[in-house]
Symmetry: C2
Subunit: 333 residues, 2 copies
């Protein structure tokens, strides 16, 4: 029988120690984590950002990534859109008894590579095991601590009429890819999640432009969700131009088959940016030259006060773009 | 039908917003959390401590506490034993569809009170919902950030022969209480978890004594587990005196019925302290005067080099006290 995670791996005894020292530290090991103190200790100062996310995606391996990579990039992105340079991560595993050691190692390896790519260290962690049928293979929580350098904090910049809404590329890919896979629909190689770490994009962008007024990665709830949050929070009306939305052709097809609007489908490598109109060209030039921004588009504009989002359709009509009302896509992240 | 958590509450749409704004913020709300940015931003500087823990305890309500209280105190304790004053917490919920809103509110309330008691703020969070049968009511991850003031960092103080091993009170209570409840055994009012936040004990103690060389809360794996970790990490032999172990009489009875040694049973309000022999009296006087230390005992001593823990039994023999080898107590924290 294949080696697998057992309840004893979560008991706090010898098996737990072995799992931590012989598996987890083998991949994540660094001078802070290796100490295995109850907390990890480091020195820093300034403006810090803290974020947390639990990942419960199903399936745990998908086209374009896996739950491990997602758990690193997802938290990196929550820091990156706030202008914070990611420094440290914590990782909490909740494993269902019976996950194979092979699968667990694949996830650990994937997390190791993803964290190295982002220049971030995993410095503290926790592993729990639950009985078969009380979890679903593996859930991963990551919390992230980052530092916001001078001039990188966009909070407090006023969003106003004529500000532009920009996205760095095609929308809806992650959610639709996961749904297709979950339904067992055979797909082409191009059908994959857009999963990517945004720190290499948002941080240099904030350095070159002080006209960025808001950034958020449109995960659950999609682009429509984020735009509604902005409209509500800042009391502005936003109009999205349907014609300008970057949507890959497979996303269009999947969207028609599944009846899921790409505007409500999750993304994992996209950022919605609100920026000063005057900075549009500079920002778009930067994005177009970046590997994660080559399909960037200006997709809409701020129309003044209000708390609603409108879609200007291809045929010229204008309709309200509500936030998601149903349980459209459970467990896509 | 009673109101309950549905998959739509985790979809990132309107129901998620309502759950966050009308339930979670009602209890946890503060100026940092209320912003609902992707990360929470604050200023600090110095020596910081980061820790994380996922809580998967079953049952979620138990004698002496609930999963909410546990998720706050547990992380507070991981900071407190490192000499870190808890500042901020993140909270990640993984809820199984069908948890009643009444239960969820009770947990939120409990977390609110616990965090207020510890003077810590919940500043960022995440909520996921999984299908019925893919989780177990609720799992909670908390990560904690604390600050270590000058003179509070015990790392690097050398553990050597004659150092004393101290515990602040009765051992094994949490684990045995949970096991009794899980088995449906009717118990007296005195049978309860020792769940308590240790910051009010460890932080003042570190201030008055520079002879503290190590502290850890003996949760999973129990006191025997922590002592073995110390023996391994610092290459010392430790001898525990069985006669001196503080064990409540109900713990003794439960231990006999269940066949679980209190030395391997989890604690949630205890700290194992290694201290300089010369400071023993000062430390014991402090502990005895503290509500969480009145049953404190010197339970053993460091015997020199080695990597083993021995138990000096009541009848004078000496046996090896190994770390836990089996899956003794799944899901007790």
């Amino acid at each position: 029988m294949e080696d697998m995670i057992l309840l004893s791996h979560g008991s706090g005894g010898e098996s737990t120690r072995k799992l931590i020292e012989e598996e987890i530290l083998k991949y994540f090991g660094n001078e802070l984590l290796n100490e295995l103190y109850d907390s990890s200790i480091f020195e820093t100062s300034g403006r810090l950002a803290l974020t947390t996310d639990s990942f419960v995606i199903s399936p745990i391996f998908f086209n374009g990534g896996d739950i491990g990579k997602l758990s690193i990039y997802g938290t990196i992105n929550d820091l990156s859109v706030m202008g914070a340079k990611p420094l440290y991560l914590s990782v909490g595993f909740i494993i269902e008894e019976g996950l194979t050691l092979r699968e667990f190692r694949e996830i650990l390896k994937s997390m190791k590579l993803a964290s190295e790519e982002c220049g971030v260290k995993i410095i503290t962690g926790d592993t729990k095991v639950v009985e078969k049928g009380k979890g679903d293979k593996i859930f991963i929580n990551t919390s992230g601590l980052g530092i916001i350098e001078e001039g990188m904090d966009w909070r407090g910049r006023e969003i106003k009429e004529q500000d532009v809404v920009i996205i760095n590329g095609g929308i809806g890919e992650h959610g639709l890819c996961i749904m297709l896979q979950r339904l067992g629909i055979k797909t082409d190689a191009e059908v994959k999640s857009d999963l990517a770490p945004l720190n290499s994009l948002t941080l240099p962008l904030l350095k070159i432009s002080s006209g960025i007024k808001f950034m958020r990665d449109p995960t659950r709830g999609g682009v429509a969700g984020v735009l509604n949050e902005i409209a509500q929070k800042y009391n502005v009306e936003i109009e999205v131009n349907e014609e300008s939305l970057p949507i890959k052709s497979w996303v269009k097809s999947a969207s028609e088959i599944l009846g899921i609007d790409p505007l409500y489908s999750a993304n994992e490598g996209k950022v919605v940016i609100i920026a000063d109109k005057k900075e549009e060209e500079k920002i778009m030039n930067f994005l177009k030259a970046h590997p994660l921004g080559k399909d960037a588009k200006v997709i809409g504009e701020v129309k003044g006060k209000g708390r609603r989002v409108y879609l200007r359709t291809r045929i010229g009509t204008r309709r309200i773009l509500d936030p998601l009302k149903r349980d459209l896509l459970p467990r896509i992240c």
